[in-house]
């Protein structure tokens, strides 16, 4: 089952990357990042069946960082939305010269 779990992790990660590259809604892009973090967690847990529980400890840390990232990132999205009234990244182009 280890190979299947790792393959599923790889495919989920690629789906997350494709989502980040194809979507323009900032919130959905953010959720795609969460999906990628979940894919990495799956490989950690799958490999922890071979190498002991350290992998699971790393999953706990990953989840903490994901929670912190979600809180700050969504606050940034709300702050941006107050300024430009959109979360479509096509319309958020202040840095375009």
């Amino acid at each position: 089952m280890l190979a299947e779990a790792l393959a599923l992790s790889a495919v989920l990660f690629a789906i997350g990357v494709i989502g980040v590259l194809t979507r323009r809604n900032a919130i959905i892009i953010f959720m795609c990042v969460e999906l990628m973090l979940n894919a990495v967690n799956l490989s950690f847990v799958a490999l922890s069946t071979l190498y002991g529980a350290s992998g699971q400890v790393f999953v706990v840390f990953t989840m903490t960082v994901a929670a912190a990232e979600a809180a700050v990132g969504l606050a940034i999205i709300i702050a941006i939305f107050r300024h430009v009234k959109t979360v479509n990244l096509q319309n958020i182009n202040l840095l375009k010269g």
């Binding site: 599923l8 989920l12 194809t22 979507r23 809604n25 979940n38 922890s48 002991g52 809180a71 969504l74």
Partner: protein, 189 residues
């Protein structure tokens, strides 16, 4: 790792069920236009992954996955979607053009091909430590103090104690940052 009490065929069937459901939900997630529908499919992915964690002998991680990811993080996402009130899904057509999608698909395939090759190939067999069977037997023979949480808690509070403490600082910084960023700006004098 304790041996699974499942029948092997039932174990495989459940494993493939959770895995394929997670895969289908992930594909549905990136193709939905409405952010709420996408969030719901992502919650489904997370529940399936929690099932997989339990089947991979990581019961504590499975419970945490449901509580933290599906229960807390996704609720925050749904709150923000609701707060922003983005309008109807049909007005939100936010996917990039055809060429952007083709390019993204190529990038995804280029990314997944080597990873799949790694997970299928001989490398995995070489990664298995030679004393795996002996360690598994020792783990099965030893009394499991602390049940399923003990093996996770022990390295967390001994080997990785510094990282654990630093995590609390990170969370504090995130709380303060989120409050400051989310605060409505009072008129600057």
């Amino acid at each position: 790792m304790q041996p699974n009490e499942f029948h092997p065929i039932a174990y495989s069937a459940a494993f493939y069920f959770f895995g394929l459901t997670a895969l289908a939900s992930a594909i549905a997630f990136v193709t939905r236009k409405s952010p709420v529908a996408a969030a719901m499919w992502l919650v489904n992915v997370m529940f399936c992954l929690a099932g997989l964690y339990v089947m991979l002998d990581a019961q504590f991680i499975g419970a945490i996955q449901v509580l933290v990811y599906a229960g807390a993080i996704m609720v925050v996402f749904l709150f923000v979607i609701m707060l922003l009130n983005l309008g109807h899904a049909s007005e939100l057509a936010d996917a990039r053009g055809r060429w952007g999608q083709v390019l993204a698909l190529l990038v995804g395939l280029a990314l997944v091909a080597p990873l799949l090759a790694l997970s299928k190939g001989d490398l995995l067999n070489r990664m298995i430590p030679p004393d795996l069977a002996a360690r598994a037997a020792a783990a099965a023979a030893a009394p499991t103090a602390g049940g399923v949480i003990g093996p996770v808690a022990e390295p967390l509070f001994k080997e990785y104690l510094l990282a654990f403490e630093l995590t609390s600082v990170l969370l504090l910084a995130a709380i303060v940052g989120a409050v400051v960023l989310g605060k409505r700006r009072t008129d600057a004098r």
